[in-house]
Symmetry: C2
Subunit: 657 residues, 2 copies
Amino acid sequence: MSAYSSRIAIVNITPCGTCFTPRVSQNEIFPVTATIFSEKTDVITAYINITDRSSNLLFKKEMELTNLGRDVFTAYLEFDNIGIKTFTIFAFIDEYKTWAKRSKIKMNAGQDELLVNQEGYILLQRIKNEAKDRDSLAKIDAAIEKVYAGKTSVYEVLITDEFAEIFRIYPLFTLSTESQSNCFEVKRQLAGFSAWYQFFPRSIGAIKHLDGRITQGTLKTAAEHLDYAKDLGFDIVYLGPVNPIGTAFRKGKNNAIQAEADDVGSPWAIGSNAGGHDALNPDLGTAKDFKNFIKKAHELGLEVSIDLALQASPDHPWVKTHPEWFTLRADGTIAYAENPPKKYQDIYPINFDNDPEGIRDEIIRIIEHWAELGVSVIRVDNPHTKPLWMWEYVIKKVHETYPEVIFLAEAFTRPPMMEALGKIGYEQLHSYFPWRNTKQEVEEYLRTVNSSASFFGYSTFWTSTPDILTEFLVKGDVNAHKIRAILAAMGSVTWGMYSGYEFVENVQREGFEEHIDSEKYEIKFRDYDKADEHGIASLVRLLNEIRKNNPALWSQHNLAVHKTDNASVVCFSKSVPLKNDMRNTIITVANLNFAKEKHAKIKFDLKKIGIDATRRKQKTLLVKDLFTNETFDWDFSISLDPKKDVARIFEVISYAN
Amino acid sequence: MSAYSSRIAIVNITPCGTCFTPRVSQNEIFPVTATIFSEKTDVITAYINITDRSSNLLFKKEMELTNLGRDVFTAYLEFDNIGIKTFTIFAFIDEYKTWAKRSKIKMNAGQDELLVNQEGYILLQRIKNEAKDRDSLAKIDAAIEKVYAGKTSVYEVLITDEFAEIFRIYPLFTLSTESQSNCFEVKRQLAGFSAWYQFFPRSIGAIKHLDGRITQGTLKTAAEHLDYAKDLGFDIVYLGPVNPIGTAFRKGKNNAIQAEADDVGSPWAIGSNAGGHDALNPDLGTAKDFKNFIKKAHELGLEVSIDLALQASPDHPWVKTHPEWFTLRADGTIAYAENPPKKYQDIYPINFDNDPEGIRDEIIRIIEHWAELGVSVIRVDNPHTKPLWMWEYVIKKVHETYPEVIFLAEAFTRPPMMEALGKIGYEQLHSYFPWRNTKQEVEEYLRTVNSSASFFGYSTFWTSTPDILTEFLVKGDVNAHKIRAILAAMGSVTWGMYSGYEFVENVQREGFEEHIDSEKYEIKFRDYDKADEHGIASLVRLLNEIRKNNPALWSQHNLAVHKTDNASVVCFSKSVPLKNDMRNTIITVANLNFAKEKHAKIKFDLKKIGIDATRRKQKTLLVKDLFTNETFDWDFSISLDPKKDVARIFEVISYAN
């Protein structure tokens, strides 16, 4: 028995939870689609029925035939409460609509008038039996009376909007078919709509003494920086790992193999005699400082993320307490990380196959330890080098006690593993965004990411990281930083920025696609009070504000790329239907050439922003420029001179012209 | 539990029979692919295990990593016996290959020599325990002796091809994972590799008398034409419906609403007082004539196809015996076919919902009646207007008794229904091929059709039909007919031609994309003896010969489109690995401009014809031109002047340059 064995075929239901539960986020307006067809040319009506766990109908919504040529029906849904939702799709041959469609053609052609009325009369009798409410019954009786009195024909009565509405409430159907039950999970909004700001607490409030010594910042001093993150409109502050840092084989500045005595080390070399993954680096402060930091963040409406980097420095307590969690080499020593011929003596990878359940339970304990302290977002370092079964179990288990915890997978690897991480539970995924810089790359990637794939993990667009500083940002300087921030913030529901990006720090370590003097290995001093003067902080603030104000930007299932006639200009829109037949649409047009002015004519696809077929020839749209707040009739052409603007963001004000 | 919960992920297995059984045909060399990966950087080895119904291993074949960036592994299979085959994919971390890969890099970098040899020594001890055959054991002992004698290092011994082969036979593995069992069905070769030739028996041997009267041909006279079809290299002769033709509302020549007294009627208006779907049109002859016709076809190695057109003329016996099988209108009359405002009074559609099981069983009876007479291919007219559940049941039931019967769906409708018909059992499907004429259309369609979709129905490329005569064929005349025959015969495993195509009959009925004086409504006279002189019969003969000689053309899973720098020139190859490291590759280059000479440089992707990475820079290929039999070094450029040639077909002779 397949879906084709049913009387109407209801297939390709998206989102579809065959093996994994698709996810959406609270207040995300998202489409449910299905391919629905039969062997008949009759008109099909389809509803999505949202049901509770006992399959009781909670509410239903009519689906719209959105792609006739492919038989695709769509309904947009939105939930303000979280949890698993189940649904079925119910489709039937709509006898009234079928009759109405055929009869209109026949009457216009002067055909079969008698037959049309005979058929209509049968429908009229049937609807009289079906209708329940007094209002509809009164209308039906009145109509029958008029017909009997010869004042009008059955056809003329039935073809009215009034009767279309009655038949909509009490449809007459045949071949009714219900799909099998399907489900998706509504996660809290931050799981799918977030702006990340990273900073290293040890840099914030650090003091450079006259003799060159540095006193590093702490969680206490860093707490001041929360106001700054809040002011720029971010949702999540991400601190990297906060665990004790190993000293054996510690890396120096710029990843030097030998550290100087005063080098602070990479926070990713986890574990010292001060403790391991469940310990706080004492240089950052006390448990109380950590709690106060979280408290202040929460007061500001910010959430705090730390790293889960499952690897150990040679000083990690596990090396003594659980040597079996590492790999013994043929020569009897513990294996450090290698990628022949490269060696990473400062890091011992964990061998998950030596004590799978033991390590797994320890990881759960670690995450729950931090979750209990108020950490609600976990950024997992290199999850793709750990077993998938383990993550599937760990995330599920943590969510039983701490359902609010959001997991971000920092996995730069081949697509099948990234897809797997999303499916088994990671709400957010690092992405290839930093390396998508040409027009073709940007367009293709926006399409890839804003698709049904996002039901299984949102791709977080990071503008850069200490380890990823692309040529584009180096060469394009301020303008490139603006372009990439705009593409990230408008192109994905979730985007992120490392501190320093707003200051346009963009010098590469020679021979590497990464920052020189990387903050991973040393303390950085920045005058954040001047972020607004010297960098792109104002733009960032504005982007986050636009994101918060526009529901179109809360969904990863509504982006359309529009063709432009210039090789440097990209245009994309995000659009969602709102209640009361309203709509929210944001259009981004960017010049990817950071140096030269470019003009473009855009072949704007009005269908993609919900404008119906009859009005698709219109030549302009009334839009508001969200940078200038100016409202004007946009003629789908653009001129962008990077000396002034690298992009424009428009909100559609009116869909008629 | 998902495939990700296994220790190695084995996903996206193709062909995949989750709901429907994928199909291949006998002697089709086809790929089985899977995405296989783990969290480790270790080397994975994967095998496909072909098993019998009791899950016993019949044979296994190593899969090759064919797309590193996407973790795709591939094995090519071929079967000379039909039936359901089951398989699993078995993957493991290959300890030897992992060690060898890393050790080579380390030794080249002068690193860890001692450790490499220590690790190797452990492998050497283990393989000594694993190896079973005398030859391998002798090699292992000899190696150990040499190592002990200090004549060589463990590394030097193990890194040899000799030991790679021993470890291939007795792999040392960890994390071994077996996919769940999967299956596909091998159908007889004609299901997936066939050339169709259509003719109307009543035209063959028809006589035009001096007074204008026509005596129509019969199965007896038409039997003569089988030699002609055989000579042109076809496999299936398709006769259209052979049932009695109705007289009520009979259509005249050129679909005229009023037939003349001597009009023969459309064979698709089925049923008269001479009988219905199980009856032979008496004008074509007797049951004995039919049997003789089939007998002669079989003697020539041809198979015979007739139509199953499930509709009735108003004279069909069912109208009296089973009026409930039709639809009663509100005015009490039987509904004829309509597509408002169009009316087809000569055809009563069957209403399958009135007596589903009754009609279904009657259809099975009809098909089995003809199958018993030797009809082995059924071309179903408009299957998309009948319920899918019915076809699923009927095809399965007929195959229980007559497994040799092949079903072709003549469904021109939207893609979801066509896909459904293939999945529920139709071996072959009519396709959009006739309407794909520009370079972009041709390339895109070849890619679409030659894909994993073909595991669920082969798309038959018909050059034209009486109802489909495109502008391209009208304007392009002989050259267009050549181009389309070449694209059809080389682009799909199954192609077809209606009689008259070889004579370049290409006059449209005014205002319609169909033939004037269509053979559907009248007898046609052609001098088939002169087919070779006046048309493209020789080309057709050659195409069918090329198809039969080249296994690359027997598979629908091996086509690659190669970019060309000319907007009219398309280039595609089909290539399969053969036994003994041989390969068969056919390259087609065609100029779609039927009037003008075109030159093109082709960006030929050597990877697609199995040439390995080290040799992909070669500038030429030794090929044989299958039109001229000339062998030469092809430099991937082409010049095609339609006055001489519209296309070239090359067989690759040598893969080195």
